[in-house]
């Protein structure tokens, strides 16, 4: 397992994939954060409450919704690139235990996802606190509360990235896997959440966004109204279970397939 882990980490540090995806996540988070902060408390359509309030500050801290989706895509791309670039042949020649390779890939992707999530959380926190202090507001949330949401982004990003590896191993075709992940996050979960809110809270992207601080009816993309956040540890367990289930499903099916 050590060799597989070393190889997977080295794969991630010798290309620009993680850096590129992290830059994209930070840029989107900062853009949404600034748009939210600039219109906070104005009462306009999608505007969040004033940053002087705990709700407004929390909403602004949770401008990491797209970063979470990018974290899931990072894991998906890590897994599917092996097939797109035909490097899977050498990977499985070097390490014949395919389950071990999958596990090592999920661990490496989770670490990269955590880095991406930390960078996005830092950007969101910087924007929120920067706007709040520039307006002369006293911080409406305590340090631990802020750490709770930023930590949620980091953990959720890590777990979504690991789940992305499972999805990417199940759907080897890179474009197909990316479309599936985006459609799931931006369409399926929103539809299910809006129609059956009691089920919506258990869906991975929704659970992740709520760990990062999104609330019922808030966030970008917006959490459907009526979806109540799972307790923080329960949300983490849901994400970990989904990541594990995707990896196990892949391990029992596609990962055993012939490498042609």
């Amino acid at each position: 397992m050590t060799r597989a882990l070393r190889a997977e980490f080295l794969k991630l540090t010798t290309t620009r994939l993680v850096a590129g995806m992290t830059v994209l996540a930070v840029a989107l988070t900062a853009l949404i954060g600034v748009l939210e902060a600039a219109t906070a408390g104005t009462g306009k359509g999608m505007a969040i409450p004033s940053l002087a309030t705990a709700t407004g500050l929390r909403d602004n801290l949770a401008s990491t919704g797209f970063a979470l989706l990018i974290a899931a895509l990072l894991g998906t791309v890590i897994a599917t690139s092996e097939f797109r670039l035909k490097t899977a042949t050498d990977t499985y020649l070097d390490q014949s235990a395919r389950g071990r390779v999958l596990a090592a890939k999920a661990v490496a992707a989770a670490t990269a996802g955590a880095v991406l999530g930390a960078a996005a959380a830092a950007a969101a926190t910087g924007v929120a606190l920067g706007f709040a202090t520039s307006h002369g507001y006293a911080l409406a949330l305590s340090g631990p509360a802020i750490a709770h949401y930023t930590g949620g982004t980091v953990i959720a990003s890590a777990l979504l990235s690991a789940a992305g590896v499972g999805v990417g191993s199940l759907i080897r075709h890179q474009v197909g896997a990316i479309i599936a992940v985006v459609a799931w996050g931006l369409v399926v979960e929103l539809v299910v959440g809006a129609t059956v809110p009691a089920v919506g809270r258990f869906l991975p992207y929704t659970a992740a966004a709520m760990m990062a601080g999104d609330t019922n009816g808030g966030g970008m993309p917006q959490i459907p109204r009526g979806v109540i956040a799972l307790p923080y540890p329960a949300a983490a367990v849901v994400l970990a279970a989904i990541a594990t289930a995707a990896a196990v499903a892949a391990g029992l099916t596609t990962v055993r397939r012939d490498i042609t």
């Binding site: 190889a7 080295l10 010798t14 490097t87 042949t89 050498d90 020649l93 012939d258 042609t260």
Partner: protein, 299 residues
């Protein structure tokens, strides 16, 4: 001692039988050419030998064990199966570092394999900017990292320019001189005959011939071309000796069934001058086509 052994190997993809009951073996220290036309099942066989494709039935083993069960396999068996299996954004050295990490090979080998394959000057280049020939060399470099006793190479000459083919030929000969066992797939018999001492010929997933390359080349039909001002007289004489003769021009004959010495001796006995006499080197490929029954079949 047998190193590679394939016994009754079968692979079916849906209704199609790609490999149908193939058996052959390769002894230690042998350079074996694994020959067959495109679609003969060579790549599928090699992938089954390396545990990447599950056989429908039969076995393919190295030192008596399936590849996956070999201890320290990547230090004992090196393989190059895909010329394009590189991340284009990774440098040559980074690619080899990843392979070292995956196999537990010391990084000190990287410089050595780069030198062996003439890639030292390209160490910092991204693999995406390498030519096909350079990627083939990088594949060979990676396969040699563990200093393996056995090398399995799938069409390593594909896409190489003449200089690359020449280099590869010398490189493979060198591997043979080092006592390694090498199994090289190809669809060009004349090329394999330059470096291999054993040839395994398959077609449509079945064994056609296996044995020393010299035996295979003996079966090649020799065509002798002669240029003479008395071609017609010579033609009649050769035909009476049982040779098949074809006029290839006003003063040129193509003769099958007699070798150069017999043709020249006959001409001398009859006082017929000969200005030129050659043996057709394309006959190896004709032998291959006959063996694989692909003569006249579209490629």
């Amino acid at each position: 001692m047998t190193v590679i052994e394939v016994r009754g190997l079968v692979k079916q993809f849906g209704p199609a039988t790609v490999v149908g009951g193939l058996s052959f073996s390769v002894g230690a220290g042998t350079i074996a050419g694994f020959l067959g036309p495109n679609g003969a099942g060579k790549t599928t066989t090699l992938r089954m030998l390396l545990g990447l494709v599950q056989p429908s039935s039969g076995q393919a083993v190295i030192w008596g064990k399936p590849y996956r069960e070999l201890g320290d396999r990547r230090r004992r068996v090196g393989a190059v199966l895909e010329a394009s299996g590189f991340h284009p954004g990774r440098t040559v050295t980074a690619h080899l570092r990843v392979r070292c990490a995956a196999t537990g090979t010391g990084r000190s080998r990287i410089d050595a394999v780069l030198a062996d394959t003439g890639m030292t000057g390209l160490a910092g280049r991204q693999t995406g900017s390498l030519s096909l020939g350079e990627r083939q060399r990088l594949g060979l470099a990676a396969a040699l990292l563990g200093e393996p006793e056995v090398l399995i190479l799938d069409e390593p000459a594909n896409g190489l320019d003449p200089a690359g083919v020449l280099w590869l030929r010398g490189f493979l000969r060198q591997l043979g001189e080092q006592g390694r066992t090498v199994l090289v797939s190809s669809h060009i018999l004349a090329e394999v005959a330059q470096f291999a001492d054993h040839a395994i010929v398959i077609d449509r997933g079945r064994l056609v011939s296996a044995g020393p390359v010299t035996e295979l080349t003996k079966t090649a039909r020799q065509v002798v071309t002669v240029r003479s001002p008395r071609a017609e007289a010579l033609r009649a004489a050769l035909a009476s000796e049982g040779a098949a003769v074809r006029a290839a021009g006003p003063d040129r004959l193509e003769i099958s069934g007699l070798d150069t010495e017999q043709v020249a001796t006959l001409a001398a006995a009859l006082g017929i001058p000969i200005f030129e006499i050659t043996t057709d080197t394309g006959s190896l490929e004709q032998a291959f086509l006959r063996l694989t029954a692909t003569e006249g079949r579209p490629g």
